[in-house]
Amino acid sequence: MVKSQKHHIQTEGLKAPVISIGLLQWIKSNLFNGVFNSILTIVMLFFLYKIIPPFVKWAVIDSFWLSTAEQCRAGDGACWSIIPANIRFIIFGFYPHELHWRPFFAMIMLVSLLLYSKNRDYWKKSLVYMWIAGLFIMGVLMKGGLLGLSSVESDQWGGLPLTLMLSFFGMFAAYPLGVLLALGRRSKMPAVKTICILYIELIRGVPLISLLFMSAVLFPLFLPEGLTINKILRAQVAIIMFTSAYIAEVVRGGLQAITREQYEAAESLGLNYVQKMRLVILPQALKIVIPPTVGILISAFKDTSLVVIIALYDVLKTTRSALANPSWMGFSPEAYIFVGLIYFVCCYSMSNYSRRLEKELHA
């Protein structure tokens, strides 16, 4: 009785001081813990004060959204009008104007298929068939020539669909190739091993741009007379060659992380090489390397922008063409911020997804 009373009195008496709870406490322990940190916070706040209000004034308060270029020039703010005025060219490039709905629906299909595939519960055989059907429909939508759709040559493809296509097929084809190269590099056959090492190290040692130059200038020389492959496909091949070497190195890391016992156990079950790899080793190895693989896929997505240099009209090149129009010249920061946002959203959602997947797989 006495004890409990004493206890009661104590809790009554010990109320935390205002400074150690709530917002004030948070500010104290996160921004002003120590002399150095306090100075740092004040300096940072001063810089933010110097940067953010002028930026907001430029980007929001004084900005133009649906005006003409002349009105923009008269004002001081950001000229976002360059985006709506050129949006169809930036997104679709030289695709025939009245047929823009076709790449539009193809992109919607691709994005919804990707979103659908995010959930691991749907990773079954049916998903593979869905993808095959989806890719076929997307191909028909882009190319036409079937079901009464008029045909659109691939040199008219451009903008965001081209960026998505180059990166998607780049990853899609580079992945199995990369796995094969990694297996080759780990092989006990000296000839196979040497060829794989040479390929991987050679590709990883040179910049992507040299491969793209090669695709633009040298591939036509490599092929017999009369046989031509269009420029987009050639660039696609270069991207696949490049990405596969990087994927191979990541997968090799995964293969090395699998212990000897796994190989031996698989062999003692009487599995042959293909069965051993397909059923035992690769499922484990590929699971380990999901995070670095997504990292490679993200950089492959960003790297597709390099096709600008061999004059393919991806989304960055269409933006630059829009900027080359004399009436919109000089508004490049606005246009580049817009394209940057597109890339950011794609890459950020990919890396976020990879982080989530990593957590799920660990659990």
């Binding site: 996160n30 921004l31 813990n33 940190n37 740092l40 916070t41 940072m44 706040l45 006990k188 056959m189 000296p190 000839a191 196979v192 060829i195 050679l202 990883r204 040692g205 040179v206 910049p207 992507l208 741009i209 040299s210 130059f213 090669m214 200038v217 040298l218 036509p220 020389l221 490599f222 092929l223 017999p224 007379e225 993200i298 960003k302 790297d303 922008s305 390099l306 600008v308 240099i309 960055l316 630059r320 000089g330 490049s332 920061p333 580049y336 394209v339 940057g340 890339y343 950011f344 890459c347 950020y348 890396s351």
Partner: protein
């Protein structure tokens, strides 16, 4: 008889193994098949190429090296004119690549380390700002960033007449960045020599100090001694040479600046883009490296009585660097390879000079192989250095 049996049976099974089921023979057959396919593909491509070259009458070989290049190069570290040979033009391109890569790597490591430490700061604001920087910069293609900075120089900055002067003696305009530098004087050459001499002296003193410490246990104040020698020697030389302090200050003459050191918009944009982009990756590497060292290490080092500086240099850094250096080298290599994007904004790096050469001579095969060989050399040198460093730093286990 009993002894002979098992031998016989193994011999029998050996004989019974089908010729095609012997793993050794199979491996040989597979390899012959792979080599044959690669060889055939190579031969096919080669014969096509030879035929195409003959048909289009394109010259082969590196004979163009000694022809006159007849194109100007915007900036070069050594004297160059359009009358010089292609070989010299390519050399200048390679030097420009090395220049941008070297300056870029130094700045990237500084900025990246700074950001990586900021990301781990207990200050919420600093940590969050660093996190935003890292996330945003990693997710935007480097080429887009280069275009952005290039347009920053050309579209946003004013012409030289209205140049912005953020700090005295530094002018920013659409002709690039101009800043004051000390006027050339023989004293600076002596100072450079003194600096190198100081570095060599420090190297030997450190070795001697370590030996002495191993023998006698006496600690020599290496750090303060090194700082003193490396800064002091050039300073004394400067004073002895009469302390020249005349500066070459940029002045507006006509439409452009004269004097001072000029950094072209192309170089500036390339450097800014590369440093800002790569620093985001370096920051993540540094953060991971620091986090890899458990707190127990710091506490243990303090418990045996080391000073904070010693804790850092003797305990934390050697361990953190072991984690940091390999990925850091690959980022440096990435920066070097990404510097080839200079071709998109018109900075005359190696790729850009080589592609002009290809356009003029039509010899694409030689040009592209040159690009590949030069970058492969960079990669090879880097990985050689890395292997050496890894061996030096690797955990020595008993």
């Amino acid at each position: 008889m009993k002894k002979g049996n098992p031998v016989n049976s193994t011999e029998n099974t050996k004989q019974r193994v089908d010729f095609l089921n012997d793993p050794k023979i199979r491996a040989i057959i597979y390899q012959i098949a792979v080599l044959g396919m690669v060889g055939l593909l190579g031969y096919y491509l080669f014969s096509n190429t030879v035929e195409n070259l003959n048909r289009q009458s394109i010259a082969t070989g590196f004979g163009f090296f000694h022809k006159e290049a007849s194109f100007e190069i915007g900036e070069s570290l050594i004297q160059y004119s359009a009358a010089d040979t292609y070989l010299k033009a390519l050399l200048i391109g390679a030097l420009n690549t090395i220049k941008v890569a070297f300056v870029g790597i130094v700045l990237t490591v500084i900025l990246g380390t700074f950001l990586g430490i900021a990301r781990l700061s207990t200050n919420w604001l600093v940590s969050k700002l660093a996190a935003i920087y890292i996330e945003v910069m990693q997710d935007i293609p480097i080429l887009l960033q280069l275009f952005f900075w290039y347009s920053f120089f050309y579209d946003i900055l004013p012409p030289p007449r209205e140049a912005i002067e953020p700090v005295k003696g530094v002018f920013m305009s659409n002709r690039g960045l101009v800043f004051a530098v000390p006027e050339s004087h023989p004293a600076y050459k002596y100072m450079a020599a003194a600096f190198i001499a100081g570095c060599i002296a420090v190297f030997f003193v450190r070795r001697w100090a370590r030996k002495r410490q191993d023998k006698t246990g006496q600690i020599f104040p290496v750090f303060s001694f090194s700082i003193g020698i490396i800064i002091g020697l050039p300073l004394v030389t400067w004073l002895l040479a009469g302390a020249p302090h005349k500066m070459s200050v940029p002045e507006l003459v006509g439409f452009n600046f004269q004097g001072g050191l000029n950094m072209s918009p192309e170089f500036g944009a390339l450097l800014l883009g590369l440093v800002i982009y790569t620093a985001a990756f370096v920051a993540e590497i540094v953060r991971a490296g620091i986090q890899a060292i458990s707190r127990g290490q710091t506490e243990a080092a303090m418990a045996i009585g080391l000073k904070p500086g010693q804790v850092l240099s003797l305990v934390i850094l050697p361990q953190a660097l072991r984690v940091i250096i390999p990925p850091l080298t690959s980022q440096m290599l990435n920066l070097t390879k990404n510097s080839s994007l200079a071709v998109a904004i018109g900075f005359p790096d190696f790729v850009s000079v080589a592609s002009t050469t290809i356009n003029q001579t039509g010899q694409a095969i030689e040009g592209i192989s040159l690009i590949m060989v030069v970058y492969l050399c960079f990669s090879l040198l880097t990985s050689l250095f890395m292997n050496w460093y890894n061996k030096k730093m690797a955990l020595v286990e008993r």
